[in-house]
Symmetry: C2
Subunit: 353 residues, 2 copies
């Protein structure tokens, strides 16, 4: 166990884990208010929701700001009730939640534990506050597509909680196996097929139930010391990775600057570390735009969608759905020429309309 | 209830049902030896296997002849044991099972009920015997892609059994609803995704289990009299449909006749009604050939695969797998020009090699 946060340098206890989901699982076990609810935004990654169930809690989904996909204090207040023991608040897309400190104060009053989800925002810098220093628990990820991406790994950090048992629990989990990667590849393909064809059928509802039963060992696992050292070594390169991400992001901005309308560029707050280059494309043309990009072989994605149907919740989260129907993303850590090509193709779509 | 088989004209009892699967379900209920096993070939349509489970039996899969995908007496003898109460023997691809009469004699000795599955072979003609007159029970389908295709419907016929209760049971099932078609469309897409990406993962095993739980109402339903009349009206057009199928099949043969090797043309027995135009393409080039066909927009399919993994059975059925790895099919009931185009594209692949 480390006695500091390797990302921010802050003093406290830190457990290195197999992925962000494991860190969440360990935090919720540490909170040990089983049977209670955990607030999560409707558009959080599904991998952050399953650990709530596996740790013995019930997810309570809340809506998000349509434009940036982050929660606000108002949304949190609307969702809160007495059954809530904890909340997982992600900085979506590497964009710091503006109200994080106010949310923390609200939760402090209510006795709710805040798990600050820095899976997409690993940073040692400050904006209007310092991400990774606000939550009672802070979790990070070094998994696929995260700020520092080594395909595996996560951290659980806390200034106030004793994580000794959490560390023991981590060591007691089933060990990570290579085949887990294959399982997630097939999962992604099936989930993509479902997302492209609608989630309201009996067939899909049955499949979603099967996920809850079968994903535990694929999400909650231990890793050996070699992996743990690897994670720390890579986090030590954080500064240069953030600079690289900013440069790549600015390259997109520069090459798209004289194109107008049809979409808007996602706005990052002060202190953000861009995850991908995000655009909000008008709902009416969003699918057509993505298909156009795919025809040109662009590595386009449309994360993060509303994940509540996976968990049997078909309530409408209007703003999370608005966000889902607009958001489009392109990778940052690719060669400059590929970014320039992507921008050229994007501008081509604009002109065609 | 009809007092004759509307396909062959033979005297007996005949119940009109929602699909072939319902007819199988009703036959097995009529046999009422719950808890026993039912022999089925490993490559039968999955829709014929679920009713075995839903009726309270266990499927016992057997292998098939690699070349034509049909079972033989030898295979049936190898698979038989004391737990077997019934067998569903399909005429695959509209190709009559050569050993059907010998299989019937064997089952008669053993007290096993033969369900002759004419889902893909609706015919009033004879080859070396008369299909649809051998089984203790005979089932037909008028569903998607069947000899007579009206998208819905099936028949259960028997000379010897009393089907009065079966008819009552049919009327007591949940009624067919339009949304069932949507469910099967999403099912097909997911099953296709799984087939293209491997069936050995935990994720897929979990999904397959969910199917067993969730498909019952999508497979076993009642239909109203309007549908039943429609089914009979369409069966009355059987003669002309068989002639049409033969003509279309011969058009394929004619336009492929001067192309050689790389594949062989599936051989139909005397008395067959071609289902699709089938080819056996060498395993090493099978995938590449299908991808080539898809690139040219051909309506290529690769039915029927080994379905045992859907039912949690990962035993190897070597000959059914050989067949799965070779079989490729093209539709018959399409315009002549489209058939000619398909043949031209197929020959183009040959020449490229």
């Amino acid at each position: 166990m480390l006695d500091y946060n390797p990302v921010t340098g802050q003093k406290g206890q830190c457990v290195i884990a197999g992925r962000g989901a494991v860190a969440i699982y360990l935090a919720l076990k540490n909170i040990s208010q089983y049977g209670k609810c955990v607030i999560v935004p409707a558009n959080i990654c599904y991998a952050a929701v399953f650990p709530i169930i596996y740790a013995g809690y019930t997810p309570l989904f809340c809506d998000v700001n349509p434009a940036d996909g982050n929660v606000s204090l108002r949304i949190i207040k609307d969702s809160y009730n007495d059954s809530v023991a904890a909340a997982i608040i992600p900085h979506m897309y590497g964009n710091p939640v503006s109200d994080m400190c106010a949310i923390k104060s609200f939760f402090l009053q209510k006795g709710v534990k805040l798990i600050e989800d820095c899976a997409s925002l690993m940073t040692n810098r400050s904006g209007s506050y310092r991400p990774g220093t606000v939550g009672d628990y802070v979790i990070y990820s070094t998994g696929y597509s995260k700020t520092v991406d080594i395909g595996i790994g996560g951290l659980l950090f806390s200034v106030s909680a004793d994580l000794e048992d959490a560390e023991k629990e981590e060591r007691s989990l089933n060990p990570y196996q290579e085949c887990i990667g294959d399982e997630w590849r097939i999962f992604s393909k099936i989930y993509r097929t479902i997302r492209n064809n609608g989630q309201n059928s009996l067939i899909v509802k049955g499949i979603y139930k099967s996920f809850e039963k079968n994903l535990k060992d694929l999400l909650i696992y231990s890793i050996n010391d070699k992996y743990k050292n690897d994670i720390l070594n890579n986090i030590s390169r954080l500064d240069e990775i953030i600079v690289l991400r900013e440069n790549k992001y600015n390259l997109y901005l520069e090459h798209l600057k004289d194109s107008d309308c049809g979409y808007s560029i996602y706005k990052f707050e002060d202190g953000a570390v861009p995850w991908r280059f995000n655009m909000l494309v008008r709902e009416e043309t969003n699918r057509a735009f993505i298909e156009y990009c795919l025809r040109y072989g662009l590595p386009v994605s449309d994360w993060y969608p509303c994940v509540t149907p996976i968990f049997g919740i078909y309530d409408s989260f209007d703003d999370a759905m608005w966000h889902e129907n607009h958001i489009v993303n392109f990778p940052l850590l690719i060669p400059d020429e590929e970014i320039i090509r992507i921008c050229r193709v994007i501008k081509g779509y604009k002109e065609k309309k």
